[in-house]
């Protein structure tokens, strides 16, 4: 009987935690849903909200794409090769994860408000107070997160499979493209969706780097901030509801994609 004691305690703890989470998040969701949906359609059709949705989706897509273009090769190197100072590189890459986003934004502001940033602006790539800055802020905030997720995805794949593929004549790139990438694709796609979702909700770093200007640098979270500061609670709740919908949808897709391909399993 003693054998079952610990699982019972764990089960109770798990149940209590689930109830608390549901109560805590549920209250917010209910308020947002009822208050937000009441004037949702009229608010969502406002030019400002449509602009914010468009800008948020556009910048999140670009920054997520850039994030994974950088994260996938970096993770491959970190996970599958050995080189001197690797722990130092790993720590440096993950360092930004432990910093508050607003501090990251401040660091970027200092860099891009410098003569270097001004030179970039003259070269046709303004960062501070421009939409490029939104993409950059999302990229810097999410890159270590994307690297961490991609590295974990690659770590899950048995390296012996790549050894076998190599002995069967696959070049390093073909080992990557025919073995490692397909076997980690579900985890990578779900990571991509989670990173996109985080980019969509990014606010701290964006606020510091590009500020919050209506119809210029107004993303969905920035729109909520502006609505609240102008006492437009219904507008803020509609935007919050929109973010909630997008997050729930992306989480649902991510969860579905992380499930193993049943065709590979014996228990079909």
């Amino acid at each position: 009987m003693r054998k079952h004691r610990h699982p019972d305690i764990f089960l109770s703890l798990c149940g209590i935690l689930t109830i608390l989470t549901v109560l805590f998040i549920g209250t917010n969701v209910i308020v947002m849903t009822f208050q937000g949906t009441r004037s949702f359609l009229s608010n969502v059709m406002r030019t400002e909200t449509l602009f914010a949705i468009g800008l948020s989706v556009r910048t999140a897509c670009v920054s997520t794409l850039l994030c994974f273009l950088l994260a996938v090769p970096t993770s491959f190197i970190l996970e599958r090769t050995s080189f001197p100072l690797r722990p130092v590189v790993e720590t440096a890459l993950e360092l930004t994860m432990s910093l508050p986003n607003i501090v990251l934004g401040l660091s970027m502001l200092i860099i891009f408000a410098s003569p270097f940033g001004k030179a970039l602006k003259h070269a046709g790539f303004p960062v501070v107070f421009s939409q490029n800055g939104i993409v950059l802020a999302q990229l810097i905030v999410n890159l270590p997160f994307a690297i961490k997720l991609s590295t974990a995805a690659f770590r899950d794949v048995d390296v012996k499979l790549e050894h076998v593929a190599g002995l069967l004549g696959a070049s390093p790139f073909r080992q990557f493209s025919t073995i490692l990438l397909p076997l980690s694709r579900h985890t990578l796609i779900s990571a991509l969706i989670l990173v996109w979702s985080r980019a969509l909700g990014e606010f701290g770093a964006t606020l510091m780097l590009v500020g919050v200007t209506r119809m210029k640098t107004e993303t969905l979270p920035a729109g909520i901030y502006l609505d609240v500061s102008t006492n437009d609670l219904s507008g803020a709740l509609s935007s919050a509801f929109m973010l909630l919908l997008i997050s729930a949808l992306s989480l649902g897709i991510a969860n579905r994609l992380t499930k193993k391909n049943v065709r590979w399993s014996r228990h079909v």
Partner: protein
């Protein structure tokens, strides 16, 4: 004596507290060579070093006269069968077998006919469209063997090839094992902890104890050679002699 295909010279590999200690060994073309030893004796490490997967701390492994690690992995043409077969789980049996041809950009029609031919030889032509997860242990092993042998590698390395099989399948595979050398003209280096199996299948046997190779004998001399105490203990020779 025929030409040496794999030459291991004074190989030392350290992994934590374990040392593969000063192993020297020559494998000849078309030879069936078994390395026997207890679990943890360093058999798999020796096999992985032979394929060039791990970097030696000292000594070298020469494959056809060239240090194996100097040959890019995809140009070595060595067959390797892990204990758990390591079939690609996202490809069908046919996809697994034909993988090496696909990597060499062989046309699809040719791949299909070559896969069919070797699948018939290994009696897996009925499961070609199935994924590895739906195959039995014996089928997985035969698919893995077909995959490893399709490009006719001069050297086949096998890690405990029969451990996971039931006695009936095991004896069926013993028969298939003997035909591999005749059909594919390759040297086979396999490691096992089963010395009866090694004696039944191999031309020569090396005994690995605690990371060092204690000797190499022809398989009919396994119980007759003058071994040191550790090997006698491992083979149970002292107990056998006491009983006699």
């Amino acid at each position: 004596m025929s030409d040496t295909i794999l030459s291991i010279r004074n190989l030392i590999i350290r992994r934590g507290y374990f040392i593969l200690n000063d192993v020297s060994l020559d494998i000849h073309e078309r030879e069936l060579f078994a390395v026997i030893g207890k679990t943890g004796a360093g058999k798999t490490m020796l096999l992985e070093a032979s394929a060039g997967f791990c970097k030696p701390d000292h000594g070298q492994v020469l494959y056809r006269g060239t240090p194996v690690r100097d040959i890019p992995l995809h140009k070595r043409n060595i067959g390797y069968l892990y204990q758990d077969y390591n079939l690609f789980p996202h490809m069908t049996a046919a996809g697994n077998i034909g993988y090496s041809l696909k990597m060499r950009h062989v046309p699809n029609s040719e791949i299909q006919s070559m896969v069919q031919e070797i699948a018939r030889l290994f009696e897996v032509d009925g499961v070609l469209d199935q994924y590895p997860g739906t195959l039995s242990g014996g089928e997985q092993q035969r698919v893995a063997l077909a995959r490893a042998l399709l490009m006719k590698p001069p050297l086949l390395l096998l890690d405990e090839p029969f451990t996971a099989l039931d006695p009936v399948t095991k004896h069926r595979m013993y028969g298939m094992f003997r035909t591999i050398r005749d059909k594919f003209s390759c040297a086979v280096l396999f490691v096992t902890h089963d010395f009866a199996e090694a004696q039944a299948l191999a031309d020569r046997i090396g005994v690995l104890v605690g990371g060092s190779l204690r000797g190499v004998v022809s398989s009919d001399q396994l119980y007759l050679a003058d071994w040191d105490r550790d090997v006698r203990m491992f083979l149970g020779l002292d107990a056998m002699r006491r009983r006699c």
